[in-house]
């Protein structure tokens, strides 16, 4: 019975996400089935958690769950009607080459292993006390977080101010299961891993023009201990890996949007950008960096200033959440000192040891293996291959958050600020890890010339890239036919 309820919860999340995707990309440029699944999962978790929060102001309990379930099912049907399609088109399935088939099988095996690892591990401390706690308390209160929770000094360790994408996705499972259940709550995290790996493969394939290279890059993710098995990894219920997947999608599709008329990628960028601050507080920093990158692309690619409106939904989420917290009189965290010039001046001496701690972490092969070495070497190839805004966007997106994170620890309120850094640095670096993996795929593709232009914009250009088997090329082939 639990499994059926769980499948229903997942189906409604994917349905809501697919509905949003239909609205964003009404034609078959949504990508292949796997990519649509991954994007549907990301959009779906965002939609369901935001709806649970907002509709929770008006209704509770079974009514709240029932109403949102109806919205989730109605969304793709409405999108289908609105876009005026006679049927929902999926990109035609093509036969995989033997190498692609083998790599896809390896990736599927890795995803299955991540599911297994998530089941055998417990939720980590933060997974239980930062995220599951909110889902549990909201479930016991008809789907709405009790006001008393925000004001509970004794539970301030659970960071009541953290946003609700992850806990309210768990809550959605609980509403279907009919009980708060720590075991089944873990299921959402391997789903994020699957979405992340698929998106990494898809984005790599879009950037390099080769599916097998994307599959290699996605398969490598499993062999980074910090992502697969370490504390704070994708299996222990922390929000850091899901946040990194949202960030990968945001910047990845922005890189794709750098091709002159790729409006669809820009729309996905806008949606994922809006959801960043809803996943974790650090998401606000990632939102700022990604918004900056978006503005840069709009300026450099001479896109219409109307595109700047894409930055507004995320800003709205940030403002709405903070207004809500101020109304709840949430207990404030004492982890950081108030930001002021006097504090900055007094603590500036910390910057050296903090940066040193970040470098030590990058060089720690027990946690990261040789991942960052591959990324560092791959970065050279990335710059060589993309001598345009994409390189600038990519490096701002990877180095910007790390710089801001390091800077913030100047204001740490812990007596031993280096212990504070030490506890969180691996998880902070994880935010940019899947995105950084794009450099590896670009490096692997360095021996093959890149198509001059995205083939889907002009089917004629497909001639020069006829050996390409990317979604873009497949689309162009369909169009030519």
């Amino acid at each position: 019975m639990n499994v059926i309820a769980l499948l229903a919860a997942f189906a409604t999340i994917l349905s809501a996400g697919f509905g949003a995707l239909l609205l964003l990309m009404p034609d078959s440029r949504r990508g292949n089935f796997a990519e649509q699944f991954a994007l549907s999962w990301l959009c779906g978790t965002g939609i369901v958690s935001l709806f649970l929060w907002t509709f929770g102001f008006f209704v509770r309990g079974a009514l709240l769950a029932g109403f949102i379930a109806i919205v989730c099912i109605a969304l793709p049907l409405t999108a289908w009607k609105l876009t005026g399609q006679s049927a929902i088109h999926f990109q035609s399935v093509r036969w995989l080459r033997p190498i692609e088939f083998l790599l896809a099988a390896l990736l599927a095996l890795e995803i299955a292993l991540i599911f297994y690892l998530a089941y055998v591990h417990t939720l980590g401390w933060d997974g239980l006390w930062n995220w599951e706690i909110k889902a549990r308390y909201a479930y016991s209160n008809g789907g709405v977080l009790p006001v008393a929770y925000f004001q509970s000094e004794g539970r301030s360790f659970s960071h009541p101010a953290y946003p609700l994408a992850i806990p309210f996705t768990e809550l959605w499972l609980y509403l279907w299961l009919g009980e708060a259940n720590q075991f089944w709550a873990k299921t959402i995290f391997p789903m994020f891993y699957a979405a992340g790996a698929i998106l990494l493969a898809a984005l790599s394939a879009r950037l390099t023009g080769r599916t097998w290279i994307g599959l290699i890059a996605a398969s490598l993710l499993f062999f980074v201990p910090q992502i697969a098995t370490e504390g704070g990894s994708a299996i222990v219920g922390y929000a850091d890996f899901p946040l990194s997947v949202f960030y990968l999608a945001t910047i990845g599709y922005l890189l794709c949007a750098c091709r002159s008329d790729d409006e669809h990628s820009f729309r996905i960028y806008a949606v994922c950008l809006a959801l960043l601050p809803w996943v974790k507080l650090e998401g606000m920093i990632l939102w700022f960096i990604a918004a900056l990158c978006g503005a840069l692309v709009i300026w450099r690619k001479k896109k219409s200033p109307v595109h700047l409106f894409a930055l507004l939904p995320g800003l709205f989420v940030i403002i709405a959440w903070h207004l809500y917290l101020s109304q709840m009189h949430v207990v404030s965290s004492s982890d950081f000192l108030p930001v002021s010039f006097a504090t900055f001046q007094a603590n500036i001496h910390r910057l050296g040891p903090i940066l040193s701690a970040f470098f030590s972490e990058v060089a720690d092969t027990k946690t990261w293996s040789l991942f960052w070495l591959l990324v560092a070497i791959g970065s050279g190839y990335f710059v060589q291959r993309y001598r345009d805004a994409r390189s600038l966007v990519f490096f701002i997106a990877v180095l910007g958050p790390i710089g801001i994170y390091a800077f913030i620890y100047i204001f740490s309120n812990w007596p031993d600020y280096l212990k504070h850094v030490d506890l969180s640095v691996s998880r902070l670096l994880m935010h940019v890890a899947p995105l950084s993996c794009l450099t590896v795929s670009v490096a692997l593709a360095a021996r093959w010339p890149q198509p001059a232009r995205s083939p889907h914009l002009n089917p004629a250009t497909c001639e020069s890239a006829d050996r390409e088997r990317t979604p873009d090329v497949e689309f162009a082939r369909t169009k030519r036919a």
């Binding site: 417990t122 239980l128 004794g154 062999f223 201990p225 098995t229």
Partner: protein, 163 residues
Amino acid sequence: MEWCRRVRAVAHISLWAGLIASLLGVSLPKIFRGASKYSIHFVGPFHSSNIFLHFATGATDTSERLIALFDSLASAKPILIFERGDDPRSTLLGMMTAYLAWPHPVRIFDMARAGSGSDLNATDFVTAAAIVFCCVNRPQWLPPGEHFGEALEVVPMPQVAKR
């Protein structure tokens, strides 16, 4: 020029094959150890909290027993939790008790920090629903409470008042 291109291609492929092989060589033992360390041994609504509590106290089904105990007490009354911030096991128990004690208000006192709990007075003890000791010795003036292993003791205050 052709041979030059070939040499570069071979160098590139060798470099990346070597790098990926090295990454796998460093990672695989670690991943294998991580993957083979645990097995599924408890599937239930309190999967994680029960495993944590079993690790810290040695007791089983502690989450359900703690919730049943807290549910039997007036929910508006607070739970006072005494822990030692310098002992990870004590901190774990303190936070876990606070997590399970909902909807009771909770107050956590770190006995390792000077001055912690100095604002407590007799009224606070009388009005509390229960007092929880996490790796902290119960004061002699309080009667024994319910034990969950050796490390966790909960003293329900209504029972103390009755005595």
